[in-house]
Amino acid sequence: MSRQPADQQEILRLTDLAVHFPVRRGIWQRKMGIVKAVDGVNLTVKRGETLGLVGESGCGKTTIGRTVIRLYKPTSGSVWFEGKDISTLNERELRPVRRRMSLIFQDPSGSLDPRKSAGNIVGAPLRIHHLVKGRKEYSERVEQLFRLVGLDPSMIDRVPHEFSGGQRQRIGIARALACDPSLIICDEPVSALDVSMQAQIMNLLSDLQEGLGGLAYIFIAHDLSVVRHVSDRVAVMYLGRIVELTESAQLYVAPKHPYTQALLAAVPIPDPFVEEAREHAILEGEIPSPLNPPTGCTFHPRCPYCTAACKTQVPELREVADGHYVSCLLA
């Protein structure tokens, strides 16, 4: 993956982004509470870079991805994309925005219409945005997209279930590339795939980024080794907040937040010789209910270094070293 993007220009900026979902129960759909899926997130993505979002289920990483492409509406805060605040646009105003960014889903079968041919699926964005003139140009472009993601164009007329999981994810990627976007949100793009397919798809994504200058990714995954492999910078999330944000090289070498440390310790390295020497500190407890998050630092009930201040004081995300942000009172 390109380590030094040619153009360091900022493409996406999230400022104090919050996305809250009301929880309704019963026949009268009474509001029982609020889940703060994303609660005050600040992030930037530069042109051509890959930003990794990692965290365990319920940490809000998927919500951020879907809010960036405005499948969800932010409760507060704003989403600046290519210099424009898109957080309050309506569906019609969003159409040109959605030409410039696209989404790759976790479940390659669920995100492809089972009744449409692969070619039809890949070409859909072209038709929606009227990007090609005439049949010939259209089919040429679809074939070109097929080749770009390593699919044989002779399979254009097949329906999704006739493809393997890895190939289906390639179809999803081809569709995401159709409009030449500047940002692709990859929401767990490899976690539903087999090990040998994961590597193919991860390599494809980095090849594409190299080949198509300036393409940025937000790479969302729960697997820290996968995220670290593809990302230039990684943001670790816990209960709707970013707890640590740094270059991916720094993350493994010098993790600052206790949660990041615990997460790293929990991920086994596929090498028994290394594992033998590693310390296996196990993080106790479970992620608290987002309906009723802990006070102060939300990680404090599980934190081995918890102090009295942690229980009451909400830590800010602070820059502790060059480009290394941590939200911990002790850091």
């Binding site: 994961q198 080794s225 090498d271």
Partner: protein
């Protein structure tokens, strides 16, 4: 586990003499499982042999469709039938061939749950949503231990405490939906181990769980199994889990064991190109920044109409002429307890 305790193998199916002090508690010989599909018969498990010794942790590793789960379900006689069918082989547990028992007969029911327990990937699906956790634990305990109506809630509370569920006295009256995924998996482990089985089979036990929960769960299983002197079979595709917790490995591909050996042999000196490919295709947390993965190109084979030649041949970068003309090689031992199904000496070819 020391090198000496892992069995050695010679030739294909029959495991050769293990160290005299130890006989395997479970021996699977030439197991075959077929699935009938509208498009033809799938040989999901095609002559798998393995053995399990007392007190050891073994992994069966492979990608989806390689037959790793079907093998375990066949051992437990839990295959959905139809479409599944055990087409041959033996499963010898404590001197008896389990496959000779009737699927739901009294002998098999005694073994299943009582002596060999199994836990599954989706814990929430394995629990009955309308019964309390306590009731289900008591039921499982009585069923597995052959007791009837002699136990009370205290058993369930003790079991919950055993698997580290806080406030067990209160939570015993909860329903499954009030438990998180990790808690449900703990309950499943409690059920599985309620009667001190000899063997616990965990089929992708942590795939649906978060990393920190996964680590908790594996640590718990490992400790409990050690305490009970039981053996643990982990069925997984996660090589990291294998490297951290397991002593011996069976790597499966297209319904067969392609390589087996101690964890260090498999990781340090892989002898089958598929094993090697798997190891090179996973990102590592400690890798050098910017390194590239080397994926296994192509796709797993279609298990209907399998060619007689090596099933990995179309994806194999080390293939030689012999691979194209001769049938799939037998599992041959290349070292102490380290066997692979390949004509090529991968180690030599790599250098």
């Amino acid at each position: 586990m020391s090198e000496a305790t892992t069995g050695t193998m010679s030739g294909a199916a029959a495991p050769a003499a293990a160290p005299a002090s130890r006989t395997p508690i479970l021996e699977v010989r030439d197991l075959r499982v077929q699935f009938k599909t509208p498009l033809g018969t799938v040989n999901a498990v095609d002559g798998v042999s393995y053995e399990l010794y007392e007190d050891e942790i073994v992994a069966v590793v492979g990608e989806s469709g390689c037959g790793k789960s079907a093998t375990q379900l066949a051992v437990m006689q839990l295959l959905q039938s139809p479409p599944g069918r055990i087409a041959g082989g033996e499963v010898v547990f404590e001197g008896q061939d389990l496959l000779k028992f009737k699927k739901n007969g009294p002998e098999m029911r005694k073994v299943r749950g009582g002596q060999i327990a199994m836990i599954f990937q989706e814990p929430i699906n394995s629990l009955n949503p309308v019964l309390t956790i306590g009731d289900q634990l008591v039921e499982a305990y009585e069923l597995h231990c052959g007791l009837k109506g002699q136990t009370d809630k205290q058993v369930a509370i003790d079991l919950l405490k055993m698997v580290g569920i806080p406030a067990a006295e209160k939570r015993v009256n909860d329903y499954p939906h009030q438990f998180s995924g990790g808690m449900c998996q703990r309950v499943m482990i409690a059920m599985g181990l309620s009667c001190s089985p000899r063997i616990l089979i965990a089929d992708e036990p942590t795939t649906a769980l978060d990393v920190t929960t996964q680590a908790q769960m594996l640590e718990l299983m490992k400790n409990l199994v050690r305490e009970m002197h039981a053996s643990l079979v982990i069925v997984t595709h996660n090589l990291g889990v294998v490297a951290r917790y397991v002593e011996r490995i069976y790597v499966m591909y297209a319904g067969r064991v392609v390589e087996s050996g101690s964890t260090k042999d498999i990781f340090g000196n892989p002898r089958h190109p598929y094993t090697l490919g798997l190891l090179k295709s996973v990102p590592r947390l400690d890798e050098v920044q910017g390194s590239r993965l080397i994926p296994i190109e192509g796709m797993p084979p279609n298990l209907i109409d399998m060619p007689g030649t090596c099933a990995f041949l179309p994806r194999c970068p080390y293939a030689v002429e012999q691979c194209r003309t001769e049938p799939w090689p037998e599992l041959t031992c290349v070292g102490e307890g380290h066997c692979a199904r390949c004509y090529v000496n991968v180690e030599e070819r790599r250098s």
